[in-house]
Amino acid sequence: MTQTEHDIITRCQHGDKDAFRWVVQTHQRMIFSLALKMLCDEEEAKDMVQETFIRVWQRIRDLDQQKTIGTWIYTIASRLCIDKLRRTNRITSMPEDQLALRRFASDNDNQRTLENREWVSIVKTIVEGLGEKQRLVFTLIQLEGLSSAEAEQITGFDAKQIKSNLFAARQTVRKRLKELGYE
């Protein structure tokens, strides 16, 4: 944690909402990204971001300043997402979702930024059939681009669990894409 972060967290711990606004502005996009890919619904993802930061604010005094705040926020968001996924019905893709993936796959423009609804469709299509843990690990490492070590810190899984969940998730996704005609 940098000195600036340290100062801001200290201010937050004293109830300074202006300082907390900085925390929200800095981290809301990454949490939105995780939530959108986990929940596959833009409005639910926004609600999840809101709920995450409320929890962060309520527990900011418990934050061990030796840890990175980003990892800590990710941890809270991940747990909330898993809880939400357990409560909701299984996410299944529709034919139009598969079309979005097809458009993305056939698009040669590697720099194209996906719109949120495209994200939802693509993720819905490729992660169908994954369990919550596999899905979380797959999202953190494969979609968010985090390292295994970061995923360990966020999820609380050990290296072996991360590796096995990621391996199983990748296998399922490959199988799924193969079924859809991608080799």
């Binding site: 109830g15 202006d18 809301q28 990204s33 409320i54 930024t113 490959r174």
Partner: protein
């Protein structure tokens, strides 16, 4: 690299965008609860409990020591017992009847014990009441102490260079929210629903290009809550925003704003037409310009009285 790996690789690290990050930040900030004083209180109570128990134990120990010091020796105790027995004997004039004396003394002792116990209970009740009153006083004192913190002077912002920027409070213009964002939101919403904007010429003949009016016709079925979304966007603006006027129901929304920086006024009207369509009218123009609503009314008339499919969208 095969297609699957290619797809996964291209997805890696891309982050979806929040359409209006400021609005989300404001929404989060406005929903934050105040950090409960009870948390501080709990810490305070924990602190109080932290020193109170040892203090109580110390007092109890000192009382016990004092009692031990003052407590009569066993010899004295026996003498007192004999005195009591003697007194009992005086009250019961049967000196030779030792067992009955014993019984009498036992009975008297029991009575004494009962009296003592009732006295003890009474004392205990009084002590408990006193303790409760003290506790109440303590609580009220504590609450006064906490109340007093409300009056503690808030530290004045110091103009020291090392103070973190988060401590700096902007004095002016921090709540400015561009009304044009409402139009951006509507454009995105229309794009999402594949609804085209129909430009309306509200001042025909005047060739005043500063008046921009558009109409959108949304599908009014329940799968997309247009009124709800518009209201959500409208609620992002502070009610103290210049020109702020918001009226809404499930059938209609009327919203106006003024942008004093750019000298623009904005108007949005959404209403349900023909039962299953929602007509959204959006216009903005310089504040001093008079804008006729006839174009909107005409368009609305067309929607309600002509064949829907004949309209140009």
């Amino acid at each position: 690299m095969n297609k699957t790996d290619d797809i996964l690789e291209r997805l890696k690290g891309q982050q979806p965008m929040i359409d209006d990050p400021d609005a989300l930040t404001d929404r989060i900030m406005s929903s934050l609860p105040d950090l409960e004083p009870s948390q501080q209180e709990d810490k305070g109570k924990a602190h109080i409990i932290g020193w109170r128990w040892p203090a109580i134990l110390a007092v109890a120990a000192s009382v016990a020591v004092a009692l031990l010091l003052v407590w009569p020796e066993p010899e004295t105790n026996r003498q007192e017992s004999s005195v009591v027995a003697h007194a009992v004997l005086h009250e019961n004039p049967k000196p030779s009847d030792a067992p009955s004396e014993t019984v009498g003394s036992i009975v008297r002792k029991e009575e004494n014990t009962n009296k003592h116990s009732s006295l003890t209970k009474e004392n205990h009740r009084k002590v408990t009441e006193t303790h409760k009153i003290e506790q109440k006083q303590q609580v009220s004192d504590d609450s006064k102490a906490y109340d007093r913190t409300d009056y503690l002077p808030f530290p004045e912002p110091v103009n020291e260079p090392q103070v973190h920027y988060a401590a700096i409070q902007n004095a002016v213009d921090t709540i400015y929210k561009d009304p044009a964002r409402m139009d951006e939101f509507i454009a995105r919403m229309a794009d999402f629903n594949e609804v085209k904007a129909v430009p309306l010429d509200c001042n025909p003949g005047s060739s005043d290009s500063t008046i921009v009016s558009n109409a959108y016709v949304f599908d009014g079925t329940e799968k997309f809550d247009v009124f709800g979304r518009l209201l959500q966007a409208a609620c992002w603006y502070d009610s103290k925003t210049p020109g702020y006027l918001l009226n809404f129901s499930h059938q209609q929304l009327f919203f106006t704003l003024k942008d004093l920086r750019k000298g623009q006024k904005y108007l949005w009207i959404a209403e349900r037409v023909n039962g299953d369509r929602i007509l959204l009218y959006s216009t903005h123009s310089p504040i001093e310009t008079d804008v006729s609503s006839s174009c909107y009314q005409n368009y609305r008339e067309q929607l309600t009285h002509t064949i829907f499919s004949s309209l140009q969208f």
